[in-house]
């Protein structure tokens, strides 16, 4: 099997991935302690928990799971002194297509996650916490179990952690192959031993009515790792230099992970400088910038971006896909999202009907089935694109696809509705000609197939 390690690009700044594929690095606690591990926990335990929440607020840290919600604001929903216990759950159900960062942290640097998690539990006063890891990471679950045992032995978990008076236990919970468990309220239902049907918000905001109807914080693996570094640097300093991990797959010379300051790199630099460009003779066609749920961007797009000038005035610039900075606000401004950091690159050899059909099959399989528009719509979108691929396209397919997608988004309990509608909406909007051509040239005109 080909090499799957990556050396850092000179412009990279590795904080979270500092130890990934680092020569001589092992995932046991001895190695971690030898490198200054758990010192940030000691610092945190000497702080007032509310001050840690304030530092995280000041850092501007936004969730790395997909929604990008400000972490400090989420934590701030937990009211100190409540009568119910507070729970914290680490969402390690990494399953957004295109995303493969948490796997590395869990496998190679589990103690970074545990340290971030223990600090976070202290900040929100959670005494019992769980790591919800996807079922397809059996080795990852074993590594975490061992890391937890090591941390317990050293007094970083259990009663009266390092003499602080703070008690905490963390356990590993394994999922069983369902993408919907990455949705935080679905995850909570799953942990309660039920089918993971997401809960309606309001009233079931996890910070108010979460696990066992108690206040619960659910944070992504990478997000919790950042907390450790925020404690070390201070929120103000972190807000200037905070990074995010990007995962690049698809049609580039060198795929893999990398870590840059948020907004410190453009799409073109990522593809051409960091990933060695496209395959020989190929041109860029499309990029899905933040996991398969994020809306696809076309290389032909032009975007008008407002940017603050040195004198404080706002100026509007027109840019292409390659000049789009990879940060939350710019990707939102061009109509997509930074999502989970999973960047999927497609060159001119790719058939967009085929690509959308692959994505549609994923969502049709993963819809939990609770809400009718999503359960039925995701399946119909898949049936239509599959029929188109098999020569049964009809001219109105593009409009039908768009109509089905438009009738899902905004009409479901959870964001899966948007996640399954956005690919279809954006592929049709950006590549309508290709869908029409597929229907025309491959179709038999009457749409009669076995599908």
């Amino acid at each position: 099997m080909a090499s799957t390690t990556r050396t850092a690009h000179p412009r990279e700044k590795r904080i979270i991935f500092k130890n990934i594929d680092r020569p001589g690095w092992t995932n046991d606690i001895g190695c971690y302690l030898g490198d200054g591990g758990y010192e940030d926990l000691k610092k945190a335990l000497a702080m007032n928990p509310q001050d840690i929440v304030n530092e995280v607020k000041a850092s501007g840290l936004r969730g790395r799971g997909g929604a990008g919600f400000p972490c400090g604001v989420k934590w701030g929903f937990i009211k100190p002194g409540g009568s119910k216990p507070v729970y914290l759950i680490c969402n390690a159900d990494e399953s957004e297509p295109g995303t493969f960062k948490d796997r590395y942290i869990i496998h190679q640097d589990p103690h970074q996650l545990l340290e971030g998690m223990i600090i976070s539990c202290f900040a929100v006063n959670a005494r019992l916490a769980y790591i919800y890891i996807r079922g397809e990471f059996p080795l990852g679950a074993k590594i975490l179990e061992r890391a937890l045992a090591e941390a317990r032995e050293r007094g970083f978990l259990g009663k009266n952690i390092l003499g602080s008076g703070f008690d905490l236990e963390i356990y590993v919970f394994r999922g069983a192959g369902a993408y919907i468990c990455g949705e935080e309220t679905g995850l909570i239902e799953s942990m309660e031993g039920k089918r993971p049907y997401p809960r309606i918000k309001p009233p079931y905001f996890p910070a108010v009515l979460g696990l066992y109807m108690s206040p619960t914080i659910v944070n992504n693996v990478e997000t919790l790792c950042h907390v450790k570094h925020i404690v070390r640097m201070g929120g103000a300093e972190y807000s200037k230099v905070g990074t995010r991990v990007l995962c690049v797959s698809g049609d580039v010379q060198r795929q893999g992970y990398c870590e840059f300051e948020v907004g410190g790199i453009t799409m073109g630099e990522l593809i051409y400088d960091v990933c060695g460009g496209l395959k020989p003779g190929r041109t860029l066609k499309a990029v899905i910038p933040g996991g398969s749920s994020a809306k696809v961007l076309s290389a032909k797009d032009r975007y008008k971006i407002k940017k603050k000038q040195p004198d404080g005035s706002m100026a509007e610039n027109e840019i292409g896909l390659e000049d789009v900075a990879i940060d939350f606000d710019t990707l939102a401004a061009v109509g997509s999202m930074a999502g989970s950091g999973g960047v999927i690159v497609m060159d001119d050899s790719r058939d967009m009907v085929w690509a959308l059909n692959n994505i549609n099959e994923f969502y049709a399989h993963e819809s939990c089935g609770q809400c009718t528009p999503c359960r039925e719509g995701s399946l119909w979108m898949k049936k239509i694109t599959e029929r188109m691929l098999h020569g049964g396209g009809v001219l109105q397919d593009s409009d039908t696809l768009k109509r089905v997608a438009d009738n899902i988004a905004g009409r479901t309990i959870c964001a899966f509705g948007e996640a399954c509608a956005w690919p279809t909406q954006s592929f049709i909007a950006k590549f309508r000609d290709e869908f029409v051509a597929t229907a025309k040239t491959e179709g038999n005109g009457n749409g009669s197939t076995n599908h």
Partner: protein, 166 residues
């Protein structure tokens, strides 16, 4: 009840249940994992046993078995292969990889898909299924054989890979 669980496994189960002090029901999924690891699949008897153990109705357990893709109601092959089907792996040759595994493991692709029976070789040595994103998109196509994970698997490597699992 004829289903017999070794004392060691029952002890592990009690340890797992203790991790959920607020609700025993939370241990349903962990217990299903332990049962499937031990028996290879989940029989009706196991569902009844878990329900009794956790003071639930059998339907509370069955509804999880039928929802979560990882649980099986029938035995897999001696070695179970999971090939990632999703976009990045498909772009890197995931579909071709599944075909190649089927060819060398002598598995006929008569039926497949969610809800269908597992694809198995006649000798029962191998079973195979497509799964959704295995979260290693940068190094596709990826697959799992039992609990072992393989990245950037070329079709040429398939025979030697199968050789390791006899």
């Amino acid at each position: 009840m004829k289903m017999e669980l070794p004392a060691e496994l029952q002890h592990r189960m009690d340890g797992v249940i203790a991790q959920y002090p607020v609700s025993r029901r939370s241990a349903t999924l962990p217990l299903l994992h332990l049962v499937q690891e031990h028996f290879g699949y989940i029989e009706d008897e196991a569902i009844n046993w878990i329900a009794a153990k956790l003071e639930l109705e059998p339907i509370n357990v069955l509804e999880l078995v039928t929802f979560y893709p990882m649980f099986r109601r029938e035995p897999a092959g001696k070695h179970h292969i999971r090939v990632c089907r999703t976009l990045s792996c498909a772009m890197a040759g995931g579909y071709e990889l599944l075909d190649t595994f089927c060819k060398h493991a002598r598995i006929s692709r008569q039926e497949n898909g969610h809800g269908a029976h597992l694809l198995k070789s006649q000798d029962g040595k191998y079973s195979i299924e497509f799964v959704e994103c295995l979260a290693s998109c940068g190094f596709g196509p990826v697959c799992m054989i039992n609990d072992d994970f393989y990245e950037a698997v070329s079709q040429e490597e398939v025979p030697q890979l199968l050789e390791k699992y006899q």
